[in-house]
Amino acid sequence: MAILEVNDINVYYGSIHAIKGVSFEVNEGEIISLIGANGAGKTTILQTVSNLLHSKTGSIKFMDEEIHNLPAHKLVPMGLAQVPEGRRVFSQMSVEENLELGAFTRPKANIKEDMEEIFERFPRLKERRRQLAGTLSGGEQQMLAMGRAMMSKPKLLMLDEPSMGLAPILIEEIFDIIKSLNERGTTILLVEQNAQMALSIADRGYVLETGKIVTSADAKTLLNDDVVRKAYLGG
C-alpha cells in the first residue's frame, strides 16, 4: 500500500522551474532512494513534501490524505518526519532539549522512555545529553537530527543527505541505523548523492536529473544499470 503518493508536482523558485512534473510513490515498509547530482532537485522535493515549499500543481497524498495544502507543522502529528539537509539541530539547545522538541506534538506521557530508547540506539548522545547541540561533531549531530525526528514516532521518515560531510566509517554506521529503523517498521524516503550507499540499502530507487525523474527501478537493477553506473556510481 502506498503511504506517500506524489503526483505531478511542479515547483518554482521565482521564474526558475526547479521541479518539472515529478511523480513517485513510497509503499509502506519500503526504503526508497531518490538519487541525483547536486542541484537535481532532491532537497526541493523533500521540502515540498514537508510543505516548506509549495507545488503549483498536482497532489501529494500521505496515507490517502491530501496534504498539499496543509501548513508544514500539521504534518508531524500525522506521522511524517524529515531529517533536513545539513542536520539543522538547534545548536543553542542541549541534546535533551532537541529530542524533547522532536516530540513536540505528542502528549508528554512517554517522552522520557522514548528518549531512553533513542539513547540506547545512540549511546554517544547519552554521554552528551546536557551538552549544547552546537558543540557536537558532525556525525553526532546527524545522529541527533535522526533521533530528534524519531521522537515524533513517524510512519514515514524522510532523510536528506544523511552522509553529507561524514567520514566513511560514520556513513556506514548511519546507514546501518537507517536499515534497522526500517526493520522496526518505519518507512524510509532517502535522498542521497552517495548513490552507491543509498541504493545498497534501498528497495527501489528513482534517478533525478535537472528536476525530472529519468529512471526508476528496483535498487538492484539500478546498481547494475550501465547509464546509472556511469553517471552516479563512478563507472
Partner: protein
C-alpha cells in the same frame, strides 16, 4: 549618600527600560524584525490604566491587569494586520511599516484622548522608605519598579528555558524551518511573542507614568527608543542582555543628569551606545551571528 540615591534611581529607571527592551528583544529574536511601534503600546497601556483608575475609580491592580489585557490584544492585532502579511517581504518594508504603525498609534491616541497632558495617579501608594536615619529616602514607586523587573526577569527566563512552549520559542528563534519540521506552529509562536512583549509594555507604561506622571500621546516614544537602545546595547535577541542593557542605560542616564548636564543626558546615553557598538558590534551579550552557507 547622594551617589547611592542616584544609583538606586538609575536602577529603577533602568528597570523600566529593561522591561520595555524585553519586548524589542523577544520580537527581534523570534520574528527577526524591529517593532518600532512597541514604545507606543506602552503609551496605550498607560492611558488604559489612567482611564480605568482615575476616571472610573477601578482598583489600581485591576487597572494594571485591564491594561495588560488590552495591550496583549493590541500587540496580537498589530502583528496580524501589519506585520504578518509582510512575512516574506524585505526587512526595509517591515521596518517602515513598524514606524508607520508607531505614528498611527500616536495619532489615534491624540484623536481619542486629545494631546492635553493627563496627570497619571501612581498605582503604587505614595510614601517612601527612609534609610540611614532619613538621610536616604527612596520612594515606593522606585522600589516596586525594581522588584517588578526582577520578578518579570525570573519568570521569563524560567518560562523560556523550562517550559515546552518556551523551548519551542527558542527553536523558532534559531531556525524557523527546522522548528516547523518539529510540528511547531511558527505563526502562533510569533503571535505569542507579541502578546508577551505587549503585556510587558503595559506594565512598563504603568510604572513609567507612576514615576513620571505626565501622560501625553508621545509618552512612549522616547522611552521606546531608549529601550531599543538598551536592547542593542545588551545584545539584541538576548533576554539577559535586555536586563543588563536596560539597567546600565538607566544608571548612565541618571548619573549624566546628576553629575554632568541635564540637557545633555540623552546625548550622553546615545554616545555610550555608539562607543559600545564600535567596540562590540553585537552588544554586550550578543551572539556572534554566523551566516549559514
Amino acid at each position: 549618600m547622594e551617589f547611592l540615591f542616584n544609583l538606586i534611581s538609575g536602577i529603577s529607571l533602568g528597570s523600566i527600560y529593561a522591561i520595555i527592551a524585553l519586548g524589542y528583544t523577544m520580537v527581534y529574536g523570534i520574528a527577526k524584525m524591529l517593532n518600532f511601534a512597541h514604545g507606543d503600546v506602552i503609551m496605550v497601556g498607560a492611558y488604559i490604566c489612567f482611564f480605568a483608575t482615575t476616571r472610573y475609580g477601578l482598583n489600581p491592580l485591576l487597572g494594571v491587569l485591564l491594561s495588560m489585557v488590552v495591550c496583549t490584544m493590541l500587540g496580537i492585532i498589530i502583528e496580524r494586520l501589519a506585520y504578518k502579511p509582510l512575512r516574506q517581504a524585505p526587512a526595509l518594508a517591515v521596518l517602515i511599516t513598524a514606524i508607520g504603525m508607531s505614528y498611527f498609534l500616536q495619532n489615534s491616541a491624540q484623536l481619542l484622548w486629545s494631546s492635553s497632558p493627563k496627570v497619571f495617579q501612581s498605582v503604587v501608594g505614595k510614601g517612601s522608605i527612609k534609610l540611614f536615619d532619613g538621610a536616604l529616602s527612596i520612594s515606593f514607586v522606585t522600589v516596586v519598579t525594581i522588584l517588578v523587573c526582577v520578578i518579570i526577569m525570573i519568570a521569563l527566563v524560567t518560562f523560556v528555558n523550562k517550559t515546552r512552549i518556551g523551548k519551542s520559542m527558542r527553536a523558532v528563534s534559531e531556525d524557523k524551518g527546522a522548528a516547523q519540521l518539529m510540528g511547531i506552529n511558527v505563526n502562533s509562536t510569533i503571535s505569542l511573542t507579541f502578546a508577551i512583549g505587549s503585556a510587558l509594555a503595559a506594565i512598563a507604561g504603568v510604572l513609567l507614568c507612576s514615576a513620571y506622571p505626565n501622560l501625553v500621546p508621545t509618552t512612549g516614544a522616547m522611552p521606546g527608543i531608549k529601550a531599543f537602545t538598551a536592547a542593542v546595547f545588551g545584545g539584541i535577541g538576548s533576554i539577559p542582555g535586555a536586563l543588563i542593557g536596560g539597567i546600565l542605560l538607566g544608571i548612565i542616564e541618571i548619573f549624566a543628569k546628576a553629575y554632568i548636564s541635564t540637557q545633555l543626558s540623552d546625548a550622553i546615553v546615545f554616545a555610550v551606545l555608539i562607543v559600545v557598538l564600535l567596540v562590540k558590534p553585537t552588544g554586550l551579550l550578543g551572539k556572534k551571528v554566523s551566516e549559514k552557507v
